[in-house]
């Protein structure tokens, strides 16, 4: 019944109530978005860098190298010579080396020349069809298949550079496999073998080197055809190589050694991405402070609303007291009223934040091929947020509730 009175009181003066709830909703929504965004962003980035200790690529910004080679976000800083890269790929410290050669794209989706290890790295499994074995055979990610409505056996021409740039009409690609959805980057990638990429851009010498298993970068080195390979490798280029190392020291030392001794650099994704997080972490932190500021204001708004009505409501309190209500019940009633507001604000904010994240996800899907899941619940942080929200309610109600508690009934009624 005290709860019912509190509930009815909450809505008896709807203007104040609505204002407080709007403020609370706004702050909770912003914080919820930040919590989910940060969590999922970091999860996705960290997942992608699994099993990649170093990225071998052209000299330039290491962050750019990591973003372009691992996350397909930026343009690559340049190409590296295959013969130079190969020496490091076959190094005994290397566990796996995944070479990447970027070339064309199709309808905005990148065609990446690489090995099967690349698909395995993203937990890619064929949903239908087979792996790409020959040149100009491709395996496509699940999103591409559904978005562009492509099937096994379909062919298409890649275009060089950005969309609507030069189209390579002499070499059609054939889809031989479609991957099952992984929720990872590979969903939006077209995978071919490396020689396809080389082939398409080797206009000057159109030699036959397709049959070679260049792209099989197993740790055992094919000594017998090494000589021959070397000749063919002249002029061949890779965009980057994703390295997983066996040797922990090498993870550190190669970052220094490689740029000193070669024309390449080795960037650590963990290091670069941490730096990136730290960078926009400052921005997120600022937005978060802003949201807590709004929450503080909503707390003040609740306090003012409760405090203002105390004067008119003291007769109501006196009345309840003469009919048997205790001081504690009055104290509780004010507290509950405030907590109602906060609970409503929290629930609305949680929902609004997720709606906002849904739209953010739509936008980022278009632009960065990053999607966010609005239905994920980050328990630890969201329960913490609920605690803070309710805490604001308790603090805002404390003084008004104490006033109701210590109300002098006799005086109130005598001076009516």
């Amino acid at each position: 019944m005290i709860g019912k009175i509190a509930w009815k009181n909450t809505w008896f003066k709807p203007l104040n109530t609505v204002l407080s709830i709007i403020l609370l909703t706004a702050s909770v929504a912003i914080i919820t978005v930040i919590i989910l965004l940060q969590k999922q962003f970091e999860d996705q980035f960290n997942k992608t860098m699994d099993n990649v200790d170093l990225v071998l690529g052209a000299k330039g910004s290491p962050l750019q190298l990591v973003l372009s080679s691992l996350y397909q976000i930026d343009a690559p800083p340049g190409n590296i010579s295959y013969s130079e890269a190969k020496q490091w790929m076959h190094h005994p410290f290397v566990d796996t080396a995944i070479p990447l050669a970027y070339g064309d794209n199709y309808m905005g989706y990148k065609i990446v020349g690489t090995t099967e290890d690349y698909i395995h790295k993203f937990d890619g499994v064929l949903a239908e069809g087979k792996s790409n074995e020959k040149d100009f055979e491709v395996v496509i990610g699940a999103n591409i298949a559904s978005n562009l409505d492509l099937k096994i056996g379909d062919t298409f021409y890649g275009s060089h550079g950005d969309v609507n740039a030069e189209v390579h009409e002499d070499h059609p690609y054939t889809i031989v496999g479609i991957l099952a959805p992984t929720g990872q980057l590979i969903d939006n990638i077209i995978v071919s073998n490396i020689s396809s990429v080389w082939h398409i851009h080797e206009h000057e010498h159109d030699e036959e080197m397709i049959a070679d298993d260049h792209h099989h970068e197993e740790s055992d080195v094919h000594d017998h055809d090494h000589e021959e390979e070397h000749e063919h490798d002249e002029g061949k280029e890779l965009t980057a190589v994703l390295l997983k190392l066996k040797n922990n020291m090498a993870k550190m030392t190669w970052q220094r050694m490689i740029p000193q001794n070669t024309n390449m650099q080795a960037a650590s994704p963990a290091l670069e991405i941490n730096r990136l997080f730290a960078l926009f972490g400052v921005g997120l932190q600022a937005i978060q402070y802003l949201a807590y500021g709004i929450m503080l204001i909503s707390g003040i708004s609740i306090f003012v609303a409760l405090y203002n009505t105390l004067k008119e409501r003291k007769y109501e309190f006196a009345l309840l007291r003469i009919h048997g209500a205790s001081k504690h019940q009055l104290f509780g009633m004010i507290l509950i009223e405030s907590l109602f507001l906060c609970a409503i604000g929290y629930i609305f904010g949680m929902i609004l934040g997720r709606v906002a994240l849904y739209f953010i996800s739509l936008a980022s899907k278009e632009e960065f091929r990053l999607t966010f899941n609005p239905f994920e619940i980050v328990w630890e942080k969201e329960i913490w947020l609920l605690t803070i929200t309710l805490g604001v309610g308790v603090i805002a109600a404390l003084i008004p509730a104490a006033k109701a508690y210590s109300l002098n009934i006799s005086k109130t009624l005598a001076h009516a």
Partner: protein
């Protein structure tokens, strides 16, 4: 049954109120009169335990109410005393019926809806259950107060100027009604007033001086 003995009270040690001993049995009515400043309201607040006296005791059903602890006294008051105040107060956000029910809930944690409806109907308010108190006339509001005071079947009904805001006709009706209800519910009725119109209606009277 309510008994008052040696009751004195002072707000600031300069003015001391000394109240006469009095007694009022169940079903009886007692009119306490006195001009302004004689402590009528103070007496009523002492009788209901809202104020602590300097000396003396108030006994209701052989319980000295000043021996009760805070929250026990609150509950005792709700259960055994029906207070009718000069002005009508309500929980503005609750409707008429809920305003009466709340008194039963505060005492027993149970809403006595049927009793509330019956009381309101007896007082001619059966058409106003679901209205807000602010939608009623002053006379109707006073009757809602009376219904609320009676819902827990109190041992004592304490009325503070119950008729001062009513016209002659209504004043007499309300005074008569209170006495009838006191008989019906076996309660002692104490009316504190300066309203001269009630003098002829009560056989037992005390004047504060």
């Amino acid at each position: 049954m309510i008994t008052v003995k040696n009751l004195t009270f002072s707000y600031d040690h300069t003015t001391v109120f000394q109240f006469p001993d009095l007694q009022c049995a169940s079903t009886e009515g007692l009119l306490i009169t006195g001009s302004s400043g004689k402590g009528k309201t103070t007496l009523l607040h002492l009788l209901s335990g809202l104020l602590q006296p300097t000396t003396g005791e108030v006994t209701i059903d052989s319980q000295n109410i000043f021996h009760l602890k805070d929250s026990v006294l609150d509950n005792f008051r709700g259960k055994n005393m029906g207070l009718i105040l000069q002005k009508s107060y309500f929980v503005e956000s609750l409707n008429v019926l809920e305003n009466v029910e709340v008194a039963s809930w505060l005492v027993s944690q149970k809403k006595n809806t049927s009793k509330a409806k019956q009381l309101l109907s007896n007082l001619g308010l059966e058409d106003h259950w679901y209205k807000l108190p602010s939608e009623l006339s002053v006379g109707q509001q006073q009757r809602v107060n009376i219904a609320r005071a009676l819902i827990n079947e109190p041992k004592v009904i304490l009325a503070d100027e119950p008729t001062s805001s009513l016209d002659d006709q209504n004043a007499i009706i309300v005074a008569q009604l209170l006495q009838d209800l006191a008989k019906e519910y076996q309660a002692a009725l104490l009316v504190v007033t300066h309203d001269q119109r009630l003098k002829d209606l009560f056989s037992n009277q005390i004047e504060l001086s």
